[in-house]
């Protein structure tokens, strides 16, 4: 089979775009021989190679699993449409990059769920693997389909497809899963028995063992375990000590240009800034940092092993790392001679970080991005974004003085309580940025201020989880309004596809009934919905119609305070009372300070137990 497949690939791959996507063989990719391992795991990313290979979680899991002698973990990505067509016509099954083994022959296929609009690719990849789409149609001989990542915090829309979800950080629980599987495999393996045992492990949700009950008005009544021995809520797993947890240093170095083609150094997890729209800030709590010492040695090892020309400090909010200045100084000194640049994504720009940015610029120049998120102070208070206009102007002034002439400003439209005054605020901010540049340079020539807006999508486990999204026609009106007022020398405006934002809102707060919509959409050929050229809103609308599901019920409905939500089968350690209190403060436009530097806001994370500490 394997040899055959390689020959077939030789015949067809030179006909497809970017064949490197399907080849593997990269530096540091792992090869193991048949018979050397007992469990075969496919780490599946429901998007293109260049997107999936840019994802840190996948790299961590790949190396954790391959560090075990008894496991061989391989990668697989969604094939682009040109190759998919050939695969279907020549009957080539979806295969792993490392050993070119058909996915159907694996013990596990694990999907990384980063984005709701990749769900259609999950279905398509299963179909291309000749694996039944519905969990209930799979037998003992089929791979077990698992999934994790941020979208797993609301697993319900995929619960008819995925056998089990891993909730939270997988570094520890992944070993427990493999160990249990090995134990069950030596006996007479039975899929149902394995899943039942698995459901007892903390952090594992097996949806087939839970049943949703609905109220007459279509809202959810509860999700009930079918056996009393099963946990009533699935607690997320977290790693207690980030300094001691495994971190890979032999990253795979792709040949082709990928989205983030650089070494990644994770400096901390979690964020307690408390922005009220932000799901990551809620579900990844508590804040845990790696020490400067550990980071220094990791960085050296990673560059030695990869030869990358750039290392990126990854976290939710880089400037909140408590020893950022020290770390950047150590790394710039370390790498000066071999021309390795340092990049700081998610940097909150102020006078302090600007100094650091200048330091980095010694080696490599990068653009500056600011995310005020909303145009007026009132609305920024509503969303708890603790940035003032003075902060922003002061920072851009510093940036312009230091030689930058290209800044990007990110905003959201459709935030709760937003008015047209708030939209005007976006234009006012943009113009003040331009004026600041003129004050320094005397002209707007050479300046580029790019304003980007996305449409607000209410997310589970945030203070806005009860809120409606604004309707599509209103999104259009607000985008058009901005198009009109965001004009002038030096100003560019771009905006996110509103139809996608609408679907995102449906699936992010959806329930199990959306599974049917996914099947219908897949039948109609929906895939790569995040890619403009393939996204078809009409097909999705037909799918909703045929599945008799009203998308507006999920996206546009304002929920009652006491409604039970599909995602509440999951316990991320954030309490409903905390979210409700934050919601109240949002509508009063009251700011809640970061608990790292102020008093505890009682989010509930400490109750997850097991010696978790807040702060640093």
């Amino acid at each position: 089979m394997k040899l055959n497949l390689e020959n077939t690939l030789d015949k067809v791959l030179h006909k497809v775009s970017k064949p490197t996507r399907y080849i593997g063989n990269e530096l540091n990719s792992v090869k193991k021989n048949e018979g050397e391992f007992k469990v075969r795991v496919a780490l599946a990313f429901p998007d293109l190679y260049e997107v999936g290979m840019s994802h840190l979680g996948l790299k961590i899991l790949y190396h954790i699993l391959n560090n075990r002698d008894d496991v061989f973990a391989e990668r697989v990505f969604a094939p682009w449409v040109d190759f998919e067509e050939i695969m279907r016509s020549k009957n080539i099954p979806l295969f792993s990059l490392e050993s070119k083994t058909p996915l159907k022959e694996f013990d596990f296929v694990g999907f990384s769920l980063q984005y709701e609009m990749s769900y259609s690719n999950v279905l398509n990849m299963l179909e291309l693997s000749h694996i039944p789409l519905r969990a209930k149609d799979r037998s003992d001989n089929h791979p077990i389909i698992m999934a994790g990542g941020p979208c797993a915090y609301n697993p319900e829309p995929l619960s008819e497809i995925i056998d089990f979800f891993v909730i939270g950080e997988a570094e520890e629980v992944i070993h427990e899963i493999i160990d249990l599987y090995l134990e069950c495999k030596v006996k007479n393996f039975n899929r149902q028995e394995f899943l039942l045992k698995l459901a007892q492990i903390e952090g594992i949700y097996v949806p087939s063992l839970y049943k949703p009950l609905y109220n007459d008005d279509g809202t959810l009544k509860e999700i009930k375990p079918i056996y009393d021995t099963l946990p009533k809520r699935i607690k997320k797993r977290i790693v207690k000590d980030l300094d001691r947890v495994f971190y890979p240093t032999k990253f795979i170095v792709p040949y082709m240009d990928i989205v983030h083609d650089r070494a990644v150094l994770e400096i901390f997890r979690g964020c307690t800034r408390g922005c009220r729209f932000c799901q990551a800030g809620m579900i990844y709590r508590p804040v845990r940092e790696k020490s400067v010492e550990r980071l220094k040695s990791l960085a050296k090892e990673i560059i030695d092993n990869t030869g990358y020309e750039e290392i990126s400090l990854a976290s939710l909010s880089t400037s909140d790392y408590s020893a950022l200045k020290e770390l950047v100084e150590i790394l710039t000194d370390e790498f000066r001679n071999c021309a390795v640049g340092i990049s700081l994504p998610s940097l909150r720009i102020d006078s302090f970080t600007l100094d650091i940015a200048k330091k980095i610029q010694e080696i490599k120049k990068s653009g500056l991005t600011f995310a005020p998120e909303a145009g007026t102070q009132r609305l920024r208070n509503v969303i708890n974004k603790g940035v003032t206009k003075e902060d922003l102007i002061c920072s851009v002034r510093g940036a312009f003085l230091a030689g930058w002439n290209n800044v990007k400003l990110y905003f959201m439209i459709g935030l709760p309580t937003e008015t047209y005054e708030d939209l005007e605020g976006i234009a006012d901010l943009a113009k003040e940025v331009v004026n600041e540049y003129k004050k320094i340079k005397g002209t707007a020539k050479g300046l580029q201020v790019t304003i980007s807006t996305s449409v607000f999508v209410p997310k589970p486990f945030t203070p806005f989880q009860w809120e409606p999204q604004i309707p599509l026609d209103e999104m259009e009106k607000r985008q058009n309004f901005l198009k009109k007022i965001l004009k002038g020398p030096g100003i560019n405006y771009n905006w996110h596809d509103r139809y996608l934002s609408f679907l995102e809102a449906v699936f992010s707060r959806g329930d199990r009934r959306l599974g049917e919509v996914l099947f219908k959409a897949h039948e109609k050929g929906c895939k790569f919905d995040g890619w403009n050229e393939l996204f078809s809103f009409n097909k999705w609308m037909e799918a909703f119609k045929e599945a008799k599901v009203d998308p507006e019920f999920y996206a546009l409905r304002k929920r009652k305070e006491d409604e039970y939500f599909p995602w509440e089968i999951i316990d991320p350690g954030i309490e409903r009372e905390f979210l409700l209190k934050e919601r109240e403060r949002a509508f009063e436009a009251v700011f809640t300070p970061d608990c790292r530097y102020n008093c505890c806001n009682n989010c509930g994370i400490l109750k997850l137990g097991k010696g978790i500490k807040c702060g640093v």
Binding site: H14, P19, T20, M256, G307, A339
Partner: protein, 223 residues
């Protein structure tokens, strides 16, 4: 001090583009901890000059590049250090000080071996006739894609030699000498479909054996 490297590109890496190849070399040099000379300015880049680009899908024994180092280094040492860190499929075959060698941008010819594996057995005469046809043509137009546009290019003047080297029922080996580099370039992928269109479907393996400079029948090799 400048050194010239000759590398081979194997089956494992035959789909990587020239840009991918360049990135891979830069990163390997960093892993090898060799003191490469960097360009000045914000975006520091190692000073490397590459020979004529190889089309995607072709293996090779003749990929040349010149690298500038801060110091004088033994040639064998350079070869060993780089081979220790190169990924599977890429190998340094030879290293020499660049002094006195022909500049890489002047290279204008390549020799390729094309192996064809037909699905059914075919007639030798038919194949020879098709090759003869290519040889005799004064105009062979193929579509060439540049970044955005597609244009028709006459590649007949770029074909300097083509012959059948071996033949066995379902297998054939054809050798081609083609123009390469900035003055116009052709590759066997453009020619093979024209040869086999009336003969049968085949899996094609192409290998570049050598690249050199040619003028009035005189050849100068890069190393």
């Amino acid at each position: 001090m400048e050194y010239r490297f000759r590398l081979s590109k194997g089956r494992e890496v035959k789909y990587i583009s020239q840009l991918d190849f360049a990135r891979t070399i830069e990163r390997a040099l960093r892993r090898a901890k060799l003191k490469v000379k960097y360009s000045q300015g914000y975006n520091k880049k190692p000073i490397i000059i590459y020979g004529p680009a190889l089309a995607v899908g072709i293996t090779s024994n003749a990929e040349y590049l010149d690298v500038e180092f801060e110091e004088i280094l033994p040639e064998e040492f350079l070869k060993r250090q780089l081979n220790n860190v190169l990924p599977e499929g890429l190998r340094v075959l030879h290293v020499r000080q660049k002094n006195g060698l022909i500049p890489l941008h002047k290279l204008n010819r390549s020799i390729f071996t094309v192996e064809l594996f037909f699905e059914n057995s075919i007639g030798k005469e038919a194949l020879e006739k098709a090759i003869e046809g290519i040889k005799k043509s004064e105009e062979i137009y193929v579509r060439k894609k540049t970044h955005e546009e597609e244009k028709l290019v006459n590649i007949a003047p770029l074909i300097h030699g083509i012959f059948l080297e071996e033949f066995k029922l379902t297998q054939a080996q054809i050798v081609m000498e083609l123009s390469t580099g900035q003055g116009g370039s052709a590759n066997p992928f453009m020619i093979i479909p024209l040869i086999i269109e009336n003969i049968g479907e085949a899996t094609v393996y192409i290998h570049r054996n050598e690249t050199f400079f040619e003028e009035n029948g005189k050849r100068i090799f890069p190393m």
